[in-house]
Amino acid sequence: MTRFVRADLVASRAPPAAIGGPLGWLRRNLFSSRGNTLTTLAILGLLAWALPIALRFLVLDAVWTGASGDACRPEVAGRPVGACWAFIADKINYLAYGSYPAAERWRPNLALALLALAAGWMLWLGAPRRDLGALFAFVAFPVSAYLLLAGAPSLGLPSVATGLWGGFLVTMVVATVGIVFSLPLGILLALGRRSRMPVVRVLSVGFIEFWRGVPLITVLFMANVMLPLFLPGDITVDRLLRPLVGIALFASAYMAEVVRGGLQTVPKGQEEAAAALGLSHAQSLRLVVLPQALKVALPGIVNTIIGLFKDTTLVSIVGISDFIRVLETSRADPRWSAATIPATAYAFAALVYFAVCFSMARNAGFIERRLAAGERR
């Protein structure tokens, strides 16, 4: 048995220098093994094949200016023709607003600005008075946006029938209404599903399971075709409102399950501590449980919102002039008949939807990191 007693304590030293530089990074991340090397080469090959084609179509061979489809016909232009951006430029107002009267287009623009303000206020964590911000986003903004878009003759805003709304405007309206109503409704349903009152619980579960069990397209057809059959003949529901309600209820069921997942991660002790301090049940939910649950549920909530945004394209099937529908209408315009018009239209749609969804995802990622920063161990 040898005895050991440390004479000198070992001081902390810097770690050995890692293999640095871009070459070191490449070797570690892209070529670390035979499998990785093969994957890297395969992806590089795919990019080398696809990128030039996309670049040639979208940029190099694209037609940027022109007054009609002639500009985008190779035999007229005298060169290979890619995307016909002149077509998009010519139709841009129709794509943005549909048939919304030109003189009143400042109203959707203002509504969009209010939407940006509401979203900014809610998403910027350091913003002052975020409680007011929530009130604005979920109460004041929907009301004022509705008055702006639909019109209020008593306020000097002429009415604009929803049949004239179209394009990106309608897509944003459907998505925003879906989000603004499904989030609070989803939270209520999630809480209802955990309620101690059996009636509330059964109703919540029934509602959630019903809407999750029905395809959205069925909901939209039901809203459009069957709802009028159930209503007395003299009551008509706005053609745009019907799918809106359907989408909001549909999304709220998904939202409820995402929020419930968040609620389950909050330990019971949190509620007990709140109760022991004298907080009421409602205060405990609002101040202690929900902030923690929603933070955990945030990736799922954003996922649902992005899915909802893309699902809004389905309303075009029941005759609502959303962004996809006006693109379809535009590309059928005989004045703009050219071989690459359909591809241009769909490429544009893809770019627009990607831009919106990607920026939502990036924003959410930013918020998640901000929320996590405070609590990192």
């Binding site: 949190q270 501590a273 301090l277 907080l279 101040l287 202690v288 902030p291």
Partner: protein, 246 residues
């Protein structure tokens, strides 16, 4: 009436979890400024007992009075009692999304309707008393267990309770952090707080408690001042329990 009423009075308290009889005919009176340590084997009902005192668990028979207020099934009585009683939990139960300071000011602001500045002054005073004012801006996840438990004590004190309940406050701590929490509790005891502590820290019981309550199978088996309890236990079960832990 309130002048002469004891801090906590339990009389003939019975409780069942389903068919499981967890509290059986419990009688216990705690005078103001008295320190009670409750010990016993696990599953003996000691945690359930103190959770009944602030209504986290409902009892089914018998009466519980806190500072003269009877704890009935009514929410109003539960609210009234919780205004008088602070509680510290085994797993701290700090609000993970709030800073230490916000943990302490939440209830004063939202229950007592205190202004933010006044609540923060109050909270800093108590954080000073538990010797961690420098941690006010940190989040619970950044603190050691001992520090978290001291925040939990400060958070409870911010509501100026007349009675403090401790539910195994040191059993989730690493050994080297037990002392800082026990010292904080001992200091609180010297300040004249009425305390009910469920704990296995027998050194603390001997030093601080006025009386030690030994429970087994939902019943109070023996109540005695610590010197008698540890040196001359009467009941066979008490003797058996003490021989196991000492």
């Amino acid at each position: 009436m309130t002048e002469i009423s004891p801090a906590v009075a339990l009389s003939g308290v019975n409780k069942w979890f389903g068919a499981h009889h967890v509290l059986r005919d419990v009688d216990l009176t705690v005078e103001k400024a008295e320190k009670i340590v409750i010990c016993g084997p696990s599953g003996s009902g000691k945690s359930t007992l103190i959770r009944c005192v602030n209504g986290l668990e409902a009892h089914q028979q018998g009466t519980i009075h806190v500072d003269g207020i009877e704890l009935t099934g009514a929410q109003a009585s539960v609210d009234a009692v919780r205004r008088e009683v602070g509680m510290v939990f085994q797993h701290f139960n700090l609000f993970a999304h709030l800073t230490v300071l916000e943990n302490c000011t939440l209830a004063p602001i939202h229950v007592k309707r205190m202004g933010r500045a006044a609540a923060e002054d109050l909270a800093m005073g108590y954080l000073d008393r538990v010797r961690i004012p420098q941690l006010a801006a940190k989040f619970p996840g950044q603190l050691s267990g001992g520090q978290q438990q001291r925040v939990a004590i400060a958070r409870a004190l911010c509501m100026s309770p007349k009675v403090m309940l401790f539910d195994e406050p040191t059993s989730a701590l690493d050994p080297e952090m037990v002392k800082e929490v026990l010292d904080t509790m001992a200091e609180l005891a010297r300040g004249g707080m009425t305390m009910l502590c469920v704990t296995h820290e027998m050194g603390f019981a001997r030093e601080v408690a006025d009386r030690v309550v030994f429970m087994d199978e939902g019943q109070v088996i023996e109540v005695a001042p610590p010197a008698e309890f540890f040196d001359r236990p009467r009941h066979a079960r008490t003797k058996a329990f003490l021989s196991q832990i000492l």
